[in-house]
Subunit: 353 residues, 2 copies
Amino acid sequence: MTESAFLAACRGEAASHTPVWIMRQAGRYLPEYRKLRQGTDFLTFTKTPDLAAEVTLQPVRRFELDAAILFSDIMTPVEGMGVELEFEGGPVIRNPIRDVESAQRLRIPDPLESVPFVLETIRSVRTELEGSVPLIGFAGAPFTLLCYLVEGHGTRTFSTARAFMYAEPDAARLLMTKLADTMALYLKAQAEAGAQALMLFDSWVGLLAGSEFEELAAPAVARVFDQLRDLSVPLIYFPNQGGHLLQQVKRLGSDVVGIDWRTPLSEARLKLGPDVTLQGNLDPAALFAPRDRLAERIDGVLRDASGEAASDAGDAVHTPGRHIFNLGHGIDKATDPDSVAFLVDTVHERTAR
Amino acid sequence: MTESAFLAACRGEAASHTPVWIMRQAGRYLPEYRKLRQGTDFLTFTKTPDLAAEVTLQPVRRFELDAAILFSDIMTPVEGMGVELEFEGGPVIRNPIRDVESAQRLRIPDPLESVPFVLETIRSVRTELEGSVPLIGFAGAPFTLLCYLVEGHGTRTFSTARAFMYAEPDAARLLMTKLADTMALYLKAQAEAGAQALMLFDSWVGLLAGSEFEELAAPAVARVFDQLRDLSVPLIYFPNQGGHLLQQVKRLGSDVVGIDWRTPLSEARLKLGPDVTLQGNLDPAALFAPRDRLAERIDGVLRDASGEAASDAGDAVHTPGRHIFNLGHGIDKATDPDSVAFLVDTVHERTAR
């Protein structure tokens, strides 16, 4: 295959342009996705390799994206642990974890038995891609999964899960360890099936103050990454809304850190140092702006990533090549696909070297 | 009245101890609140001065709190603007604002006509308090109100509201200006009725990147405060999850800035400078911890507020008296009231001068 701009950027090597992909790029904003999803419930969809592979490929066919990302859900691998999972708009857990005993009962499943359909999806996507762009595999980070497993469903504040963390520290630690080991096996299996980069989504870690991140969430993330380092596959960590945690995130040693749209990339760079690639961070809502304003915002992200914006203030860290363009969060389902095409083309035009 | 520790702290003057109050202290975690609320819907409740005053006073009777805060809702004053408001678990807007025309139709009502019940509640509470502790009045900040008015209901991401902000900048600015002027009149009327400090809750401002805060939200907050400065009543701004916005918040010139639990007070101090009082910022979930762990966390907040923690790193700003203890967000409804008593007493014991 042609050298991938995405993989080069993950390793901090020079590439022909700044690579771009989009969180939730395989999703409801695409008419071809909505058509394929019609009449099939979400869980069945993620468990059917033909469908999951097709949806993974849809955005790569439509746009000049520099990477594909597996279509799946962060909750997929927890069913094999003994969690009773359903989807009703979002994940619903019939047997939420609220004490040490429930955490003890959870298994650490073999991915070959618990999620063969994910591995088959990956193999099928790799075959179809024929090396055109690399495929990213992913999992949910332990704290984010804990939020759902304890709360039982999505909320704005996960207050039951956070109360549990303070009230039942032993159960919380045990649960985090089991989640870390399950996700490590799951991601390893994804890499062995063909995933060329592995991303850990910590969607709710921004709910934690630094002290709780340090005590509970960070050790579990480190435990996942430590089991993956030998694979020589780039590791990406996305601590959503975790701008206040970046000094601690640096120590976790991922190759790439995803940055949400509220933390300027130049500030993230100062906290994370020069040896990490930043991924992000256009506000997904900016895709609703008129073209000229959207172009301004894209340029703003590129400038901020290059260190040019910060250099005016005298404290720039110049790191050419250490940037993967992305949104600062998943794309909204009401987004116009034409705005995505404009985004991808603009990033490529502006950064062609 | 005895000199209030709360008002002294707002002005940066020496007080006998660090004052403490709790966001949402009049609420569902109190059995006496749940009893009084039984059978009365939320809107009726907020509009009945006898009930609203009683609920405002309940926590002050039960705990040694240093301030009372008006029981009301941030959505209360928008009904008078022409917004069709209902409560179904949270606020629901029957006629969401999605274009310039809808924004133009909104009125800027006279609080004496639109919210006489709020002003009567304030007068009644002041009489009952007999000067024991001061009463805080409050309103929602314009951006947070825009989120509800455009989205039509609460969500996790307010993606419709944020898309609107990019797609319809003129309508967004007009809406923000009208909300700012309405809230300024509303808060002024509260002060004239007897509120002794005025707080602006910007619950959703953390959704904004710095550039959008600067363009849209900050000018509207400044517009509110500019109309209140002559009242000589302390002004409090709570930019929830706005740790990344604090350098800009500094320029808004409030006397007190509320800090959520994710931003260390020592870091907030570095960004806000010595001339502002910090309010916060214990994680509300810490109230679910066993007593010894809760005490540790309380001490951690006090230490961080005093500048002691940062002084180890050599960049402390020592500002005795410039701290009002609070949670970093509203108290959870499942909280044990005994934990609140422990919190209030611990803060008082540790800081008695």
